[in-house]
């Protein structure tokens, strides 16, 4: 099957505006603006079963439907923060198929009555923002952005906004704070962004990959989209495959593809021909999955992955072979979350700090059994107490690695290395 999202792999110049147009580009946006009511666009997306690709899997059309009609203006914000370790799909879309993404932003804006949209990119995506700025300028010139589009009264402008290094800004309310020129710390909810988002106005926040699906859904219809994937998870997904595999990379596949197919058929098998030991399905925020036959044959859709005691999340599949001990793995993830905790709430700020000290003690072989028990207890105590999901994320790999791979927490771990204890900047 040809690619729907990573279309540049079939049509290399799809990022050029005339090539994009020749391949049906902007037809969906034109159709929406000239022949559909905003509500009808939202209804098609609802009926398609499209769910958010940023991690939570929330139905996109339902989210758009929350935007109230009595508070104005409205905003659409594309989440291009892409900072979850193991995730690198949005970057490929924006670098190589940027116009389909921007058309998706435009359709989302029309459907929700927004005349301005922002693309929030992590600061490291400086060159990607330059590409988008150029494409936005081309779209303005070609009459796809600006005032009175297609001879109607509808006007739209899209702007890029660069972050500056902070994973927490991927959380949608921290992201909105960041666009407002503040520190990226999550807001207390409610109110939800749909009611009081950017500048206190109704705002839809969607992931880059989510929005890139939208032009196809409007063009080909909800039934067509539903015919792909599984009943629970419609459509295709980009799986970012990394770690111990021979061919790491992005793979666009229907939901329901198994882990085994992804790792062995597409990913070329495991590094050094070793057995796969563990899988993290949602990047560093994942529970760790024991990679037995049952797990490997599990279809990758939201519901099925949950039966393994994990989440599909953004489908950032990290493969770990048997050369590594899991205490080393969570040493890495804890360092990450300690560094990225924004410091706003105590359980996460203090909890990540203590988890870091305990995993360092384990790495040094100090009283490993008792320290591991304490680490597990600290992680458990953090759960359900943090202000935003980051705090919870930081505990997932920790508790599951200790519970599912107890033998890896022993005095002399083969690859346990001390990391440097570094203070995060945010906390």
């Amino acid at each position: 099957m040809s690619h729907l999202l990573l279309r540049h792999r079939d049509i290399p110049d799809i990022g050029e505006i005339d090539v994009y147009k020749k391949n049906g580009g902007f037809e969906a946006f034109k159709k929406a603006v000239t022949s559909m009511k905003p509500q009808e666009v939202t209804d098609v997306v609802k009926a398609s079963g499209l769910r958010g690709r940023g991690g939570a899997g929330f139905p996109t059309g339902i989210k758009w439907g929350f935007i109230p009609g009595n508070i104005w203006p409205h905003y659409v914000v594309a989440n291009a923060d892409e900072s979850e370790p193991g995730t690198f799909k949005d970057r490929e879309i924006m670098e190589s198929n940027p116009l389909q993404f921007l058309e998706g932003v435009a359709i989302a804006a029309f459907a929700t009555g927004a005349n301005a949209a922002y693309v929030y990119l992590r600061g490291e995506f400086w060159p990607v923002a330059a590409i988008l700025d150029e494409k936005i300028a081309e779209m303005e010139k070609a009459g796809f952005l600006g005032d009175k589009l297609f001879g109607t009264d509808y006007s739209l402008r899209i702007y890029t906004h660069l972050g500056a290094g902070a994973y927490i800004c991927g959380e949608e309310t921290a992201l909105l704070e960041s666009i407002e020129g503040k520190r990226g710390q999550p807001r207390i909810r409610p109110p939800f962004p749909a009611v009081a988002g950017l500048y206190g106005k109704p705002t839809v926040v969607n992931n880059v990959e989510t929005l890139t699906n939208v032009p196809l859904i409007v063009e080909k219809g909800a039934d067509w989209y539903r015919s792909l994937g599984t009943a629970d998870s419609a459509g295709v997904k980009i799986f970012s495959l990394s770690g111990h595999v021979n061919k790491p990379g992005n793979y666009e596949l229907p939901f329901g593809t198994t882990f085994r197919e992804l790792i062995y058929t597409y990913g070329g098998g495991v590094t050094d021909g070793r057995p796969v030991k563990a899988i993290m399905s949602a990047g560093a925020s994942s529970a760790v999955i024991v990679a037995d036959d049952k797990a490997l044959d599990t279809p990758m859709d939201y519901a099925s992955v949950r039966t393994l005691g994990a989440d599909l999340g953004s489908a950032s599949v990290i493969v770990i072979n048997d050369s590594v001990d899991m205490d080393w793995v969570i040493n890495k993830t804890i360092h990450f979350f300690k560094h990225e905790s924004c410091g706003k709430c105590t359980p996460c700020r203090e909890g990540t700090y203590w988890m870091l000290h305990l995993i360092e003690r384990i790495a040094l072989g100090e009283d490993v059994k008792a320290t591991t028990e304490l680490l597990h207890a600290v992680a458990k105590q953090m759960q359900n107490k943090c202000l935003c999901p980051l705090g919870e994320f930081s505990t997932m790999a920790v508790t599951t690695a200790i519970e599912r791979f107890p033998a890896d927490f022993k005095a002399s771990s083969s690859r346990a290395k001390t990391g440097t204890i570094e203070g995060g900047k945010h906390g």
């Binding site: 193991g86 992590r122 490291e124 503040k182 790491p248 950032s316």
Partner: protein, 164 residues
């Protein structure tokens, strides 16, 4: 002064946000201010606070919160190696150690000529192309992927000739 050095850029940045929301311009203005010297100096903080209608403390807080902003000079190029989980599974820690050894510095350190600072950083969304690093320098940020130690040393040697 930013307003004198980059008048068009400043205008473009302010045009992105509603006129009464100038505070939103603080991050892009900081990126701009940092370009040439690699850090944000005192004068820029004052000027940006003025443009955005916020206090200097507000601006300093933003610099303090986000890891890509720096308030002190380091190497002209910041070579930031991702040593996060996926890259580490493909040898990023060893790569970082070897690059530092060849340069005779520790991670976090700067070469004696002030050219490069080498740092370990978190995931850069290039996990399938490890070992990799980004370079923060006078032209913004650029990625270098699927690197070897030799290729990295070549890159540094070339930069040594080009960056004054």
């Amino acid at each position: 002064m930013l307003a004198e050095k980059y008048p068009n850029e400043v205008k473009k940045i302010l045009a992105k946000y509603p006129p009464e929301r100038k505070q939103s311009a603080v991050m892009p203005l900081l990126h701009l201010a940092q370009l040439e010297a690699g850090f944000v100096d005192r004068h820029a903080v004052v000027e940006i606070a003025g443009i955005c209608g916020i206090t200097e403390t507000d601006v300093a807080e933003i610099i303090g919160f986000y890891t890509l902003y720096h308030d002190a000079p380091e190497g002209k190029l910041r070579l930031q190696v991702c040593t996060d989980i996926s890259c580490a599974l493909r040898g990023a820690d060893e790569f970082l150690a070897k690059v530092c050894e060849r340069l005779g510095i520790q991670p976090g350190g700067t070469t004696p000529d002030g050219l490069v600072t080498v740092e370990a950083v978190m995931c850069l969304a290039a996990c399938d192309k490890a070992p990799m690093f980004q370079v923060q320098g006078p032209d913004g940020i650029a990625y270098h992927e699927n690197m070897t130690v030799d290729k990295t040393m070549e890159f540094i040697e070339t930069a040594r000739k080009e960056v004054k």
